[in-house]
Symmetry: C2
Subunit: 196 residues, 2 copies
Amino acid sequence: MSKAANTRLTILHKAFELIYTKGYQTTSIDEIIATTQVTKGAFYYHFKTKDEMGVAIIEEILKPTMQEHFIKPTEASQNPIEDFYHMISYLLLEDPFLQVKYGCPVGNLTQEMTPWNTKFSEALAELVDLWKATIINSIEKGKESGLIRKDVVGEQVAFFILSGYWGIRNFGKLQNDNSSYLVYLKELNVYLNGLK
Amino acid sequence: MSKAANTRLTILHKAFELIYTKGYQTTSIDEIIATTQVTKGAFYYHFKTKDEMGVAIIEEILKPTMQEHFIKPTEASQNPIEDFYHMISYLLLEDPFLQVKYGCPVGNLTQEMTPWNTKFSEALAELVDLWKATIINSIEKGKESGLIRKDVVGEQVAFFILSGYWGIRNFGKLQNDNSSYLVYLKELNVYLNGLK
DNA sequence: GTTATTTCATACTAATTAGTATTTTTTATG
DNA sequence: CATAAAAAATACTAATTAGTATGAAATAAC
């Protein structure tokens, strides 16, 4: 990787960390360049504006991460119900990067940047649609293989699962402990088994 | 109401509107006093800091509103399952103040202010706990009256319902139309009927 | 190795921010 | 009505903000 490409990626990664923990609006460019040891000239060489950097974070950091961690595993899944549970459970309790008190990065950005920046909305919507489509697809496969009832509506379930995930992340932030996660997961398990 | 109390309430109401539509951090005091036609001196006479005003909004605007619109109706409920559905459906589709593109005021504030301001967290947590407790209570009553299965766990269901609500609000913001609400509500209906 | 282009460094600006200091007006109390 | 206290108006500050102008160093092309 070229040196220039490296500074660009350094900015994106560090900025993402700051934004995840502090929020987008309250993360200043001065703070980003201070923690990255990159000068302002370098920053504005790589990104025309702060928002352009924000969108780049979504497309170049969040999207690939999601592809790797959610999409691929779900596509390979043979047992949707078990795997949905494990996916959510992993994200809530085990993922080494995500923290209870900081919530879901995608959810945070959606909350904060929509509807004021359409570029953000579009980039985020693309990401979420990808995840949703994968879940729906997985449900259809489950229906074919007989693991899921035929009258289950994939899109409805996808929205239900993802909404629950985003929402419980908010509870986690509010209480700053994972006790709400544990209670939530139990009911998620009940719900998912109802799809059989 | 005294004139002073009136200006205080005017500030709280207008500030709440701005914060709901724009977010807390990006709503400046200058903007608040401009739209309220209240001077800075008056503002800082009533509130020591911006954050103190923020907490006052939660306690003096959001809390009473919630008491009136969610708590009371739920307490009076005879049929929890139907009423849960109607509560969420009303909030998503009919409430005249709430807008799809701006999400849920409580969810927004939780997302934005937690975990950086404990005063906000405490005030918001109190509010949410109240709602949760009401739902749990309603479920227990439903179990007694035979409308809800005995093996249903109230706390789990409460978290599940509220999480879903917060989460789908995020989808609404992202897409800026209520199509996701409609899909979500169908599955909510399925889920709630599974509690019978 | 010279030149051109990419990449980065430094110093700046204009606007906005929350909050303060001080004075003036309004309201309540005797 | 006189006085005290409450309420509000005005003018300010110091810090922070995103972004710019301009030049220097590094890298690539020939």
